[in-house]
């Protein structure tokens, strides 16, 4: 239980996927201009990343490892994630239109989000078992959501600020991310 809590915290705060490992930067910068949109994207990422970690872990333990196909993991994982996103999208559309409406347009965007593939590969690298992988996937996605919602709230304030011309646009967003990253470094000494 203690390890699970640790994995969860490490994924969400200590090794924050965006601010510390630089995965999913594309969407982190692209979809953070509005809080509502970024929260929806965060929800979609939590959903997909948890399922993707579970499926990738099962595939790795039951198929790739016993048959010595370790080196195929990159190809298998990226295809599984792409297919999975499609299935999840179709499934949600049929069964719960409310969730689909909230997350819908963000689901296809996640296929090429490097964070999802990154988590699947990190889980394998750390030799997590099935439950640990699911918890790590969920924790990482929560970390992603925290980061993107925080950045979106900072950006709503920046919009009103009078900035020097060269800093407008991407530079100020990156500087805000740098300051958040410094703040998140404060978590790096948490240990049980």
């Amino acid at each position: 239980m203690k390890t699970l809590i640790m994995i969860m915290l490490a994924g969400a705060l200590i090794n924050n996927v965006v601010l510390n490992q630089f995965l999913g930067i594309c969407s982190f910068l692209g979809v953070s201009s509005r809080i509502k949109a970024s929260a929806s994207l965060g929800g979609a990422v939590i959903f997909v990343m948890t399922i993707a970690s579970a499926v990738a872990s099962l595939l790795y333990d039951l198929l790739l490892k016993p048959y010595g196909l370790d080196y195929m993991k990159t190809i298998v994982f990226i295809l599984v994630i792409a297919a999975l996103v499609q299935i999840v999208e179709m499934f949600l559309k049929k069964t719960s239109p409310a969730i689909y409406k909230a997350l819908g347009i963000y689901l296809p965007l996640i296929t090429t989000n490097c964070a999802v593939l990154g988590v699947a590969l990190t889980n394998v690298q750390n030799e997590y078992n099935f439950i640990q992988s699911v918890v790590a996937g969920f924790g990482t996605a929560v970390g992603y959501t925290i980061a993107i919602v925080l950045l979106a709230s900072i950006r709503t304030r920046i919009r009103e600020a009078d900035l020097p011309r060269p800093l407008r646009g991407a530079p100020i967003v990156l500087i805000a991310a740098a300051l958040m990253s410094i703040a998140f470094m404060g978590f790096s000494h948490i240990a049980f």
């Binding site: 969407s27 910068l29 011309r165 740098a178």
Partner: protein, 228 residues
């Protein structure tokens, strides 16, 4: 200018993937802690990019349009796996330093972007030159960012001490926040001297809502398909 030379110029200067198109931000931020890492990552990506452009260009009449993205992903993933195994075998220190970012070349926007925007409608020779140009542009950008971060954060250039011992290096620059800061400053300098970058699409969503594969393609087609 000959078309092949023009491709090199386009990739390295005019449409530099990192500084002008702002693609492939994840590896740029992650591995630029040392100039050497920048070269390693840049050249690995270049190798994959050249080969994927070549293969996709050769197969451009074979792959049906509807399933082109999955096909590209499979091609790129196979090439990345080959590259990963080669690096692991021959350059273990580079493998150690780059770690998980080598398999993540698969989802590097530059590679799928070039496949979609260039290789699938041009001849193999030009596509290879495009791959070389874009790859070198990426390598140069990564190395530059690495140089700045290594100099400020560690006081060294390519592991050789440059700053005197009495100057305390600013450790923050080799840590995660430094990556964001250095890239922010690079873009700010380019804004100040009036070089146009693609940052509007990057930070305001628009067409490029974080979807790397579709992103570059749609931005390219917006510009009027100048490459045809």
């Amino acid at each position: 200018m000959k078309p092949s030379v023009e491709r090199l110029y386009n990739g390295i200067i005019k449409e530099n993937p990192t500084f002008i198109l702002l693609l492939g931000m994840c590896p740029t931020l992650a591995v630029s802690t040392r100039a050497m890492n920048g070269i390693g990552m840049g050249l690995s990506t270049t190798a994959v990019l050249i080969l994927s452009n070549l293969v996709i260009s050769l197969l451009r009449k074979v792959i049906p349009d509807e399933v082109r993205l999955p096909s590209y992903i499979v091609i790129v993933a196979s090439l990345v796996t080959v590259t990963e195994l080669l690096i692991k075998g021959y350059l273990p220190s580079v493998y150690e330093a780059l770690g998980i970012y080598i398999p993540l070349i698969v989802v590097n926007c530059i590679i799928l972007g070039r496949a979609e925007a260039y290789a699938n409608k041009n001849t193999p020779w030009l596509s290879v030159m495009d791959g070389i140009g874009m790859g070198l542009g990426f390598t140069i950008a990564l190395t530059l960012a690495g140089l700045v971060r290594e100099l400020l954060g560690n006081g060294t250039v390519f592991e050789l001490r440059v700053l005197p011992e009495s100057v305390e290096p600013m450790g923050i620059f080799v840590q995660p926040p430094g990556a964001f800061l250095v890239i922010a400053l690079f873009i700010a300098i380019m804004n100040a001297i009036g070089i146009k970058t693609r940052q509007k699409q990057l930070v305001e969503g628009g067409l490029c809502d974080g979807n790397c594969a579709a992103c570059h393609a749609s931005c390219e087609s917006l510009k009027g398909g100048e490459e045809k």
